[in-house]
């Protein structure tokens, strides 16, 4: 690196322009992030770039140029250099780092794994039929370590099996067969390693938001507010209906339970007496049908 610095004045014009360009992008956006683009095909990157265009700008550059650009900026921006790794791109946005993270997560899709690549987690083949008719594929599956047989005129996987453990390299034969079975063990997309926002560096653990938690918090907050308003009889357009209903129900309960002769509760009192009479009558009738009249 020292050597590179030594040659600074001999930096070609296009490199200078690139560094200027990165610096300008950082300064003209509220937030920038470093994203891993490992294993993403160039065509997919193009698609993601288009999808992001209203929210963020994606820039793929050489790490050495990014590093120089960051080092020339103030505050704690140079600290972002530690997130530079192979296959790194920069992303710029005026949204919050949380929004950026959410948008980038949405670019991720399941993808086939290549032969020789490391399995990110256990790769499991599920028992069940495949879409293939009997043929050479049966032998190919078997030799890739996938337990296959013929069932009801189709090739089928005989049992659920872990065909490659997490951390192990996927053999080429297996990779080919997994792709044929449409098993996509990789989640591929822009992987935000860190976002810089006004002096603060955010890492993904902090940026991952559990929306369902916020949803339930809102429900709880709304419930708390409703309870508080009703229990303190604070009338608002949202609580007045409940307060009126509560007062009415309480009054009706009192009227019926204390047997107050009021036209508002007479129906209920009469009905209650009638049901009680019916209940007692049926007990008496159980013992002696002659104890009650035929009307019952």
């Amino acid at each position: 690196m020292a050597e590179e610095k030594h040659h600074t004045e001999h930096v070609p014009e296009w490199k200078k322009n690139e560094i200027e360009n990165i610096m300008e992008l950082i300064q003209s956006h509220k937030v920038f992030g470093m994203v891993g683009i490992e294993g993403i095909l160039a065509t997919k990157i193009q698609k993601i770039r288009r999808d992001l265009k209203d929210v963020a700008v994606l820039k793929v550059s050489r790490n050495t140029l990014t590093e120089r650009a960051l080092n020339q900026l103030g505050e704690s921006i140079p600290e972002m250099n530690k997130y530079l790794d192979k296959q790194t791109a920069l992303v710029f946005t005026n949204e919050s780092p949380f929004k950026l993270y959410k948008v980038l997560e949405q670019t991720k899709t399941p993808s086939p794994i290549k032969g020789g690549a490391i399995a990110p987690e256990d790769i499991i083949v599920q028992k069940g039929p495949t879409s293939f008719p009997p043929g050479p594929i049966l032998g190919e599956l078997q030799s890739a370590g996938i337990p296959a047989s013929i069932d009801a005129g189709k090739v089928a996987v005989k049992e659920t099996k872990v065909v490659c453990k997490a951390g192990e390299a996927v053999p080429q034969k297996l990779a080919t067969m997994l792709a044929k079975l449409e098993i996509y063990p990789l989640i591929v997309g822009l992987d935000l390693r860190a976002a810089y926002d006004n002096g603060t560096i955010y890492e993904p653990e902090l940026l991952a938001i559990d929306e369902s938690q916020y949803f339930s918090d809102i429900t709880r907050a709304a419930q708390n507010a409703f309870n508080l308003a009703v229990n303190t009889a604070y009338p608002t357009s949202a609580t007045i209906g409940t307060l009126l209903a509560k007062a009415f129900a309480e009054s009706k309960n009192l009227g019926v339970n204390a047997v107050v002769f009021d036209s508002g509760v007479m129906d209920t009192l009469l009905a209650k007496a009638h049901v009680q009479m019916t209940s007692v009558a049926s007990k008496a009738a159980d013992k002696d049908a002659n104890a009650v009249d035929d009307q019952l």
Partner: protein, 70 residues
């Protein structure tokens, strides 16, 4: 509920529900009668269709019987 029972007793027997009638029934049961409550009862029953009120109860009852089975 004695007052209500007395009223329904009279109604069931096809008698008019008057203050005197209710008082007589309650007294016959050995109950000390509160004149104001008798008056209030008769007043509150004015205009009430007892058969209808009972019919509503009848509607509830059979369902009630089924409820414990649920």
């Amino acid at each position: 509920m004695e007052y209500i029972y007395a009223a329904l007793l009279l109604h069931n027997a096809g008698k008019a529900i008057t203050e005197d009638a209710i008082t007589a029934v309650l007294q016959a049961a050995g109950i000390e009668v509160n004149d104001a409550r008798v008056k209030a009862l008769v007043a509150a029953l004015e205009g009430v269709d007892i058969e209808e009120a009972i019919a509503k109860a009848a509607f509830a009852a059979p369902a009630a019987a089924a409820a414990p089975a649920a």
